[in-house]
């Protein structure tokens, strides 16, 4: 794939160049990290884009903890071990939606025309921002855990369990984000991306075991929550963070994430390339 052949064309002053048939993997990685750098700069200069991973987790943790704690688990303190992993999963998925919106905004801007005209790997303009977004998922998980601890939550898994939980959250965010990235390449406007993403994000986050014990649900809904990969992520997070236990749920969660990624990476790349 890295066949390099001498190009018979030179220009007067511009140096003689070689034309490559494809992008070597190392160059593709440089392009991805360069575009991740661009996304991080963008994030740091537009801090309002971080609201969904900073204030939202705080709001949801406090609100859900105080409102539902008594009803679901008898008290807020008893509810936190159930709730915190659920909120981590939910805020991570909410944070994913931005990936599609940002891509659509980017694609509508002039700078993407230049990306298209450059001899770079087709996946780089997608994979670069995805790499930078890992920071967003880590922030979302970290803030949720911090607020939980302030409210009295004591994760039984200790530091290793908490760190493992954050890593799982980041992996989940990265995988699920490809769904929204794909929508971003398909929809015609930012508004359409937002609307369609909400329709996917809400069932994904709420038709799960994130906030309520599944056995209180009607039978068919229990079936839905069981096939929802988010349920497995939430269960795995509970096992890791609360108990420090690497259970089968962790395996199922990772398998679920891998499946989502395996389906939506090709869809997103193909849809993006077709618009190029």
């Amino acid at each position: 794939m890295t066949a390099t052949m001498t190009n018979p064309i030179t220009t007067g002053r511009p140096a003689a160049r070689t034309v490559k048939a494809s992008v070597p993997v190392r160059e593709a990685l440089t392009q991805i990290t360069t575009l991740a750098w661009r996304a991080l700069i963008k994030m740091s200069r537009n801090p309002e884009q971080l609201v969904d991973v900073t204030f939202m987790p705080v709001l949801f943790t406090v609100m859900f903890g105080l409102m539902f704690g008594g009803a679901v688990s008898g008290s807020t303190a008893h509810y936190l071990p159930t709730l915190i992993p659920g909120i981590i999963a939910m805020t991570t998925i909410t944070a994913c939606v931005a990936a599609g919106i940002q891509l659509r905004e980017d694609m509508d801007k002039g700078v993407f025309d230049r990306f298209r005209s450059l001899p770079i790997a087709r996946i780089a303009p997608l994979a670069g921002p995805m790499l930078a977004d890992l920071a967003r998922y880590a922030i979302a998980a970290g803030i949720t855990l911090t607020v939980g601890v302030i409210m009295g939550y004591r994760p039984g898994g200790g530091v290793p369990g908490v760190l493992a939980g954050v890593v799982l959250a980041v992996i989940t965010g990265w995988s699920i984000a490809w769904i929204f990235l794909w929508i971003g390449t398909r929809a015609r406007s930012v508004g359409a991306v937002q609307g369609m993403s909400m329709m996917i994000m809400f069932p994904l986050a709420f038709l799960s075991n994130a906030f309520v014990p599944v056995d209180t649900l009607p039978g068919w809904l229990q079936a839905v929550t069981r096939v929802n990969p988010v349920s497995h992520v939430v269960s795995a997070l509970r096992d890791l963070v609360n108990d420090g236990a690497v259970t089968a749920q962790v395996g199922w969660a990772l398998l679920g994430c891998a499946t989502v990624a395996a389906i939506f990476i090709p869809l997103a790349v193909r849809s993006y390339s077709r618009q190029v």
């Binding site: 052949m5 190009n7 030179t10 002053r13 511009p14 392009q31 360069t34 700078v111 005209s117 770079i120």
Partner: protein, 348 residues
Amino acid sequence: MKTGTPEAGRSSTGAERAGRDSSPSGTVAVEARGLTKLFGTNRAVDDIDLTVMEGEIFGVLGPNGAGKTTMLNMLATLLPIDSGEARIFGYNVRSQGHAVRQLIGVTGQFASVDENLTGRENLWLFGRLQGLSSKRAHSIGDDLLAQFDLAEAAHRPISQFSGGMRRRLDLAASLITRPALIFLDEPTTGLDPRNRSQMWDTIRDLVAEGSTIMLTTQYLDEADALAGRIAVIDRGRKVAEGTPSQLKTQIGTSSLRVQMAEGADTAKAVALAAELTRVTPIVSPTGSGFSVTLSDANQAADVLIALRNHQLDITSTTVEQPSLDEVFFALTGHTSETRIPETEVSQS
């Protein structure tokens, strides 16, 4: 996978390359045959043939919506080619897009730089994406900033740049890897006269340094001033091609301009001129004069005598080479100012 060599034997041989210093050489930079783009039933680009030689400035002239941008985007691999074929330095645009993208620089109508980054960061970004080391990307970026008179603004975000500065940065970003062929889509649209003439100088410098340039413009004087050869595009079709002087002679040897005296019947004068020259004169924007192309310079006398015989007073008159405005009018039946409804769909 696509091959790394040009498909056809159209590229120059090593012997031809040796010792080549002046332009244009014998190498074909752009070759298009039957290039066509459909947007629904609208033939935005309709069966266009073009050949651009290495080292020349090739101008694509046409009004808004004529299909210039669409054509350029197809050649630059930004839009799929619906039918026909195109080669850039022998590489097939359709099947060897990655090779083509390594040889071209594209500067669009709208600045394609990142609003969130400073000028220096933008150039570094595009340098890195094209395989330069971090250090080299910085040094080339700084050179370009200095060359384009942007050094002082290097650390300012683009959102604070003026229109002219954006255009210059945009062009600088296209030059990082010194592409052999540069596409410029309306490089001076929206620029003030000073920035415009700066851009012209820059374009001439690039060609002097060995680049080939294909530019679109809706300004006739720009095509006249810059381009060695011009293709006139109207409603997706190529209506004429040649050097500026060829295009002018194609229309007529000269043109007569007449300024009517106050109170004189311009309409009647125009009708007389039309009758004598069998060409539709162009009435000046103020309506107080007209110009008409002449197939024979002696017709100037015929027109002026007729005006005198009909007591139509004039204040001034000149006979000169036809302007490209008149060329355009003669070729397309409407002036370049005619605003066709915006059908030129820019891809995105």
